[in-house]
Amino acid sequence: MSDVVEKTLTALPSLLSLDSQPGAAKLSSTSKLGNLIRGITELTSKHEEEKLIQRELTSIKEQVSSPNTSMRQMKELMVRATYCEMLGYEASFSYIHAIKLAQQGTALEKRVGYLAVSLFLNEDHELLLLLVNTVLKDLQSTNLIEVCMALTVVSQMFPKDMIPAILPLVEEKLNHPKEIIRRKAVLALYKFYQIAPNQVQHIHNKFRKALCDKDPGVMTASLHIYLQMIKENPEGYKDLTASVVTILKQVVGGKLPMDFNYHSVPAPWLQIQLLRILSLLGKNDHSTSEIMYEVLDESLRRAEMNHNITYAILYECVKCIYTIHPKSELLEKAAKCIGNFVLSQKINLKYLGLKALTYVVQQDPRLALQHQMTIIECLDHPDLIIKRETLELLFRITNAQNVTVIVEKMLEFLRISKDDYTTTDLVGKVAELAEKYAPDNEWFIETMNTVFSVGGDVMQPDIPNSFLKLLSEGFDSVEEDRKLRQFAVDSYVSLLQGGPGKLPQRFLQVISWVLGEYSHLSEELDPATVLSLLSKLLDSKNTSSETKSWVLVAMTKLCEGRAGVSVAREVSETYSSSLDTALRQRAQELQHLSQDSELRARVLPRDASREPLEVDSSLSFLDGFVSEALAAGAAPYKPPHQRQEELAQEKALSLEPYGLSLPISMSSCSIGDRQSPTLLSVSSGLSGDSIELSHKGGSATLKLDGVKRVWGREGYLSKRESVEETAQVEVPSPLRSPSQQGEADKSHNQTPTPTPTPEPEQEKQQLASSLFVGLGSQSSVCLMGKSDLTNQRFRRKARCPGTSSGSSEITSNSIVSPPSMVDSLLYNNLLDSNITSELDLASPQSPPQLSQDLSTANGTCDVDLTDRDVTANNPSIIRDNGVVAAEDPDKPTDLCLSSHLPAELSGLSRSEITALCSHQSLHLSACHVQGDDSLALVVFILNSSDSDVQQMLLQLDSDQLEVSSVSESPVQEVRGDSVVVCQYSLTVKRPSVLVEVCGVMSFMCSVGTPQSVQFSYKLPLASFIRPLTVSTEEYGTMWLAFSHDTKQNLTLMREDRESLTATLNVLKNKLQLHVVEIIGMEGIVACRLLPDQPCLMHCRINAGTLAVWLRSPIPDLPDCLIYHCQRALQEH
């Protein structure tokens, strides 16, 4: 068919020779539009065209405003006006006439009127209001065509506020006898659902009716709404699964009328829509996925014909199979399918094959391995799009071993790509990989140099931010840090000496900061040389004034000695008269500080950029100045929100709109980004110091463990984790098992050319082995990404106290062995906060030995945890001097222990009593009890034997918690067959999603040998949250004073119309929050972390989700709380 069309189309002579047209007769060549079009084609220059169209528009304008113009003429005029607009000439005078035509014309004129309106106007154009009455009238018309026209325009654009006016009429049309009307009504409601979901909530049952409509067209249309709703809340529509499966079965089985066939494939669009819905429903849900396996298998089987449309269905099928709970049989078939795509000669299919590979490689890295030669070929494909997608695929399989090759390929692409958007994206990815897997300092700095020079001013600002943060915070080894910094300095000096003219501003800023901070590390480097290089930068015409600020700050740090002072004086003189206030300020600072070296040492202490900086965000040091100014008659300061409020004269809280978090920066999210605007304004935004300040301010929030960072973007963490694991195990450890070796070798042998290979072929193979290294041993990793038992054990063994920072990562791996019920988003958050606490351990503030100790200590209790996870069903595990032996889980019943609960705690809400550990006849259990202002941990020690236990010593310790004993004298013995209760009060030192108490109990049995058992007890941070009663005004002031914040969208409870209230109530009840006030679509909520650390929450309904913004003076607290909010809403 397509061939026929193409032939007829090509057979026609070109545009200009109108007369010889076979089809010319049917063209309205005599019409005015025809004349206009022909007139335009005869012109030779753009200028002439402009003149002609302007003439045309003037004449149209004259005619439309003349009272004598009939509607029929008007119709013709509107067609011409739309034509002019399409050519890019404005005809806004005609908009109102288009509306008039829709209003007053007869049916066929109306049709043109409505069309012109839909082409001319935007959804939010104010003239659209004038159309409401017309639509209203036409919806009630007895003429079906008019009803259709009205519904068509409504489904494309309608003023949001006017929806209630026509909603009943549209709803009514759902019962119309004609299917075309029902279909259009469904689509109109879909539009309403998109622009104002709350308005159509009450008609959900009617959507169901549409889904069951006897006409397949109406049913298909209703799927648009369902797809959208299921996307937002998959849990709410699980009951649809069976119906969707049935529909798909019928469609695949060819039960629909032949009209819906497309190239003899039954209703492909419908099939794809259904497959999408299924994949949403089956995601992370085993039992729902079970229902769909059969039909998916059938879809795969049926789609056999060699035509684009069957490939489209296959692609969707494969995606669905890889999204839902996996079934190996189907995965195998899907993998084969992907293989067919990738190997196809058709370029479009190849592209989709790569895209599918990219999608599934996280779950099954072996697939990439299978197709390595094709991937290599695609990497050199002449079509950039194919190349780009291949890089995307490689990005996802990057590990510590292949990072250099892959990054090299990406940089190669960056050098030829001219598209800013691609550059921004790729540069971000390179930076991410470089930070995560850099093999050495030189490579890292050089790669980042390329990133900065190529990415220049289009890259995301968090790239330079996190780079500088990484440099300043360093990693475990002081020596390594010094080397890295020194290398950076040397590299930058040589760059500046080579001529900085072409370097982007952002890069120059990074360079200035690093030189200012670290150039003293390089001993051969004379400070005067650096100063002269910097002042050359100042003189350059290409340097922006923002960059100049950075340079001046760097000079301020460097201006030592006589030479320095004289340079400083010269420079500061030049710039203290600058028109730019920021520059002037910097120049002043430079001048003063260069003259007073003592002051300078205090203001800018050397090598102190990693010290946390106390930011007084209330600016109390300015109090004196303020009161003076007030006394002198100045107007009192009003915070921006108050000013805005007064301007708007509205009662609603006006906080700034929510920004969307960028997917890439989720994990590498820089502090600078997350910093509250208030804090940024403190640091005066423009200044060179701002970045320094902002990351200092939040240094405890997120630490990048530099090149050793493990966690990647949401979604393929599990795969990352396993890649990293194997890499970790393979590289440093000489213990590499022969079986692994064998597997790796085998994988290399999989390359499909056993015969002697020609030269280029060999090159490719070489490239292949360097690209796909590290993936081979993956084949032992099971598909789900859950590392199996043996793997974990091996990992643990590999980690002995001697290994470097690698060990601490592995620790964090084991903490988070995947909790399958939590979805990936939550999971991600959990990871984030874990990594935070993890990295804090190794933070450079603590002396190296101490951090070593800490991480080893931490390691031990993690081992314990890992064991627990592995044998989740068997809660009691004894750890006796490292020997793991599981005992019969005869844990003492909750009931009998609870009677031992101290009297003062008995009325309060408490957690279940869980067994901690036991040793022979000694059983330890614990629970936590939530008081109004406290959280108590109660440990029960049950001795079930006859003999006494003596010299007992129970010690609790925690990284995140402050633990203090409530009992006056420590218990020392437990008599036979009795229970001893120890009570502790807990407060949070450092928030984390789950906080943990580790304990050791040593004791002496009657037999005589000293024994000890270890245990750990985890409790959610939510147990420490209590309501905080504040007024709206107090809330406002507090909000501005807090500097740590986080934003996230949460799912709304959408059963009733009061969704905000309902959602907040759930949170209030589950998490003990205090709802301060609800105003319209916004709500403010406050809580405190025991004893009195406030956290504020601002919620707003935004496009069907709850946009939540949390702020607190405590780092990490907002992140942890948002996690618990998500959990609470999910569990509800």
Partner: protein
């Protein structure tokens, strides 16, 4: 206090299958444009210019898909005309290609061996067909027969009107 979304946001955030559809000639002349996301004229012009340039620069054997900002562009050339749709990255490019093809089939059936000139001189008809096929950026009706039936019935009114010049409202009962 309504906040207007900046260009990029509105085009990528709104969850519509097809964000816009453009038809343009080999010479880069726009023949049809349908925007399913609200954009200002200036933005539309900018996007059109960028895309026409990029698509025309592609060689015939190249892939029919393009990355453009956060979106995917799916395009296909039929004789002297390029049809081009913007979709989201996660969407199915192949089925979009078939959307384009089905539209061409509809045009072909309606005009009888369609050529670029049919679309130039009767562009409003091409829009009518598009509106019956895609509505608000989603596929409305994929049965070729049904789409053409709807169009023909609306056209019929026109014919009747031209012949008899009587009020159409009363005639519509025949629908």
């Amino acid at each position: 206090m309504k906040q207007k979304l900046p260009l990029l946001d509105s085009i990528t955030l709104i969850d519509i299958y097809i964000r816009f559809m453009l038809l343009f000639s080999r010479q880069g002349k726009l023949r049809l444009q349908k925007w399913y996301v609200p954009l200002s004229d200036k933005e539309k012009k900018k996007i059109t210019r960028e895309l026409v340039q990029t698509v025309l620069a592609r060689k015939p054997k190249m892939c029919s898909f393009l990355e453009w900002r956060d979106l995917k562009i799916v395009y296909k050339r039929y004789a002297s005309l390029y049809f081009c749709c913007a979709i989201e990255d996660q969407d199915n490019e192949l089925i979009t290609l078939e959307i384009i093809h089905r539209y061409v089939e509809l045009l072909d059936k309606y005009f009888g061996s369609v050529c670029e000139l049919d679309i130039i001189f009767n562009f409003e008809k091409a829009y009518f067909i598009l509106d019956e096929f895609l509505l608000g950026g989603e596929a409305q009706e994929t049965s070729k027969k049904n789409v053409l039936k709807a169009i023909e019935q609306a056209d019929l009114l026109q014919e009747v009107r031209l012949l008899n010049d009587i009020d159409v409202g009363t005639k519509a009962v025949s629908y």
